[in-house]
């Protein structure tokens, strides 16, 4: 199986489409660092309500690497799924388009092995993209601007001590890996249904956009379905930037997302095993 996964990974990284996401992150994130460095950023102090803020004196490296990394993760999080689907949508449909299903399925490997190795390779590529994001935002940010406290505003303004931040980022990226795996799994499922990668890419993007919109609309009918929309749980990484961390909520979100991943995977497996290869 490892042999097949490594072959699939090789195929993924030989496609130019894979590099769109990596290049986008590689260009955008340093640009954000640059603009951060050129502005007089208050490092998040501005999030404290003015009437409180004006009554205090502040000192410390507030406009630091952790702060900008948090901003980057927050801002880009909504866009990363669209870079991920470029990989996921092509995993199976790309073989159909290229006609290489015939070459692949007539090898002495089971369809289960084929689809599972492709699925795992897709997940690995997704995680690598997030690792790249972590390197360009967090590592580069801390090198350029140093570590420090992190001021964030969710339902309250929270100031996290310097030695209390890094592990949260690691946990957040770990959670983000699970979230993005849901996205790639959905694209993978669509990819198993068609013979052209464009369809799964566009469909997955459309579903994410529509679900996100439904989550935001404040109407009772949509409030009823919201808990069933997986997009509702994609931003669970934010839970790691709370104090205390709501561990039950984290576990719940992880289980729901994992359930989606497994559901999409098994559905894809079923479709692929039953499929007649006519291309």
């Amino acid at each position: 199986m490892i042999k097949i996964i490594s072959i699939e990974l090789y195929k993924i990284f030989r496609k130019w489409r894979t590099y769109i996401g990596f290049i986008t992150i590689g260009v955008l994130v340093p640009l954000i660092h640059l603009s951060f460095g050129l502005t007089t950023e208050d490092g998040g102090v501005g999030m404290i309500p003015r009437s409180i803020r004006e009554g205090f004196v502040f000192t410390g490296n507030l406009a630091n690497g952790y702060f900008i990394s948090y901003i980057i993760l927050h801002s880009l999080y909504i866009h990363i799924p669209f870079l991920i689907v470029l990989i996921g949508g092509d995993l199976l449909a790309g073989e159909a388009t290229a006609g290489t299903y015939r070459m692949l399925i007539t090898r002495p490997i089971s369809r289960f092995q084929i689809i599972t190795s492709k699925f795992l390779a897709g997940i690995i590529a997704t995680v690598l993209m997030l690792v790249w994001l972590a390197i360009t935002s967090l590592l580069l940010g801390v090198i350029l601007f140093g570590p420090g406290v992190l001021i964030i505003a969710q339902d309250k303004v929270l100031i996290l001590a310097e030695n209390d931040v890094l592990w949260r980022f690691i946990a957040a990226y770990g959670f983000a890996s699970i979230s993005m795996t849901v996205v790639v799994s959905l694209a993978f499922l669509f990819s198993s249904l068609v013979e052209n990668a464009i369809g799964p890419i566009v469909s997955t993007m459309a579903i994410i956009i529509v679900f996100m919109i439904l989550s935001v609309i404040e109407l009772d009918i949509f409030a009823a379905i919201k808990p069933y929309l997986f997009t509702n749980y994609l931003t669970g990484w934010l839970l790691f930037f709370d104090d205390p961390i709501d561990v039950q909520a984290v576990i719940k979100d992880v289980l729901i997302l994992t359930g989606h991943i497994l559901g999409f995977y098994f559905l894809s497996l079923y479709i692929f095993i039953k499929k007649d290869i006519l291309s």
């Binding site: 420090g148 505003a153 969710q154 100031i159 669970g236 934010l238």
Partner: protein, 227 residues
């Protein structure tokens, strides 16, 4: 407004035992002026609803008459009034003082004096000082600002220092009615907010240690660091 307050206080204090409040205040200032400069380590704990801050460590520098500076390896925040606190800053401006009586505060006999700044530009419109008798140490200050909020500073002295420098300060203030920060997150479900033990109030506890008094601090220390 100020004149009314003044009139009320004067009227109320007619029945009180009379001491010369200004003499007491002068003694307090004189006492404090024995300190030319100091550096001290501060451990700061902030307890404000909707603002969660870890314990902070800072170094505070002071040089007469009014130079103050705070430094920290990490991050620190200190209430402005606590940061800028010295009896001089409170008492050097034109004011009227009224003696209102004696009380027992934390087992100590204290004189209670009301100080009303007479300047129209003063941020504070009324301050009440609890001054320990004989030692002329300020134990407590309660001030009301022009905007209508009040803050209270409780000072403790451990007796280890020969100087009138507190070992800890408890700073309490009213929280204004605020619109809490808008959620930046995409998470739409509203978690239940934890109720504060003291709604409407913010508390900052500062513990001072390792005073180094009158050791000489160059003015350069207080110069603004260029970003």
């Amino acid at each position: 407004m100020k004149k009314i307050i003044l009139l009320l206080i004067v009227t109320m204090s007619i029945s009180a035992q009379s001491k010369d409040p200004q003499k007491i205040l002068d003694k307090v200032v004189q006492n404090f002026n024995s300190v030319q400069d100091y550096t001290v380590n501060a451990k700061i704990n902030v307890d404000i609803e909707f603002l969660k801050v870890p314990e902070m460590n800072a170094k505070v520098y002071f040089k007469q008459p009014d130079k103050m500076k705070m430094d920290s390896k990490g991050f620190a925040m200190l209430p402005r009034q606590a940061f800028n606190f010295s009896p001089n800053s409170l008492l050097e401006k034109k004011h009227t003082s009224v003696y209102t009586g004696t009380e027992k505060l934390n087992g100590k006999n204290v004189d209670v004096i009301r100080v009303i700044p007479t300047s129209d530009s003063s941020e504070v419109i009324l301050s009440t000082l609890w001054i320990e008798q004989d030692k002329y140490l300020i134990r407590k200050i309660e001030s009301t600002s022009r905007q209508g909020g009040t803050f209270q500073i409780n000072l403790s002295y451990d007796g280890k220092s020969a100087y009138p420098l507190p070992s800890s300060i408890k700073f309490e203030f009213d929280l204004p009615k605020l619109n809490l920060p808008k959620k930046l997150s995409g998470k739409m479900d509203n978690k239940e907010e934890k109720k504060s033990d003291h709604p409407g109030k913010g508390i900052v506890m500062i513990k001072y240690s390792d005073y180094k008094v009158n050791q000489g601090i160059p003015d350069a220390v207080f110069a603004e660091k260029k970003k």
